[in-house]
Subunit: 104 residues, 2 copies
DNA sequence: TTAATCAATCAAGTATTATTGATGCCGTGG
DNA sequence: CCACGGCATCAATAATACTTGATTGATTAA
């Protein structure tokens, strides 16, 4: 039914995906974990900017971070992706028939 | 691989879902098509505001409109939902193994 | 311990989105 | 033809989101 917490969670997850830079990041992470400096290199962009987008993705739960030495490795959280996939799927219409009553 | 047009399309679709009001609208439409006045009633909000959000959903292709007399009925475009579902699914990590090389 | 590197955070500026009330268009009923 | 109802659109404002450059904390190498 997508009510209450689900609605807010869906909105947050979708917001995190509603940006091409963040989709680029996820595309990179699909092949395995990466540290920020690798991403700045791959995506040709500034460290600060990337850090901002990584935070959005992390806050939404779509990526996980693993500090190692002075690097921080990011990786996709496949569970969250699957969760979102399910939430999106639940938006499909339950009936195709034209509704009988009208109020206007 | 989520590149080029797909990336932009995914961002647009996700942006359209990144708002609780729009999720509420879709939730209503799941049960069948509705005209704007029914939605303003169900969602307890202003007509102008609703019209704005309906436009965002329509521009993204997530809903379809059907004029009938002086009403306009909106309905979920299940194809677009399925398309997005697939795009989201394609974000899942392809390998779980730790990547061997590092550049930093 | 000092210098250097990686990455988060902050502050300031810009850009994009959302809300609100007003206006206009179009189809319908009188 | 006229008035009304349903809805889109516009203009102005408010709220969010994004970008950029500078700073800071933490970690490692010298």
């Amino acid at each position: 039914m997508l009510s209450g917490k689900n609605r807010a969670k869906t909105a947050e997850l979708c917001h995190a995906l509603a940006d091409e830079t963040r989709l680029d990041i996820l595309d990179q992470l699909k092949e395995g974990e990466r540290c920020v400096c690798e991403l700045t290199d791959a995506l040709q962009t500034g460290q600060s900017r990337l850090s901002f987008h990584l935070k959005v993705l992390k806050d939404a739960g779509l990526i996980l971070d693993r500090p190692e030495g002075r690097w921080i490795y990011y990786a996709i959280n496949s569970e969250a992706v699957a969760e979102l996939e399910a939430l999106v799927g639940s938006l499909k219409a339950t009936r195709k028939t034209v509704r009988p009553s009208s109020r206007c």
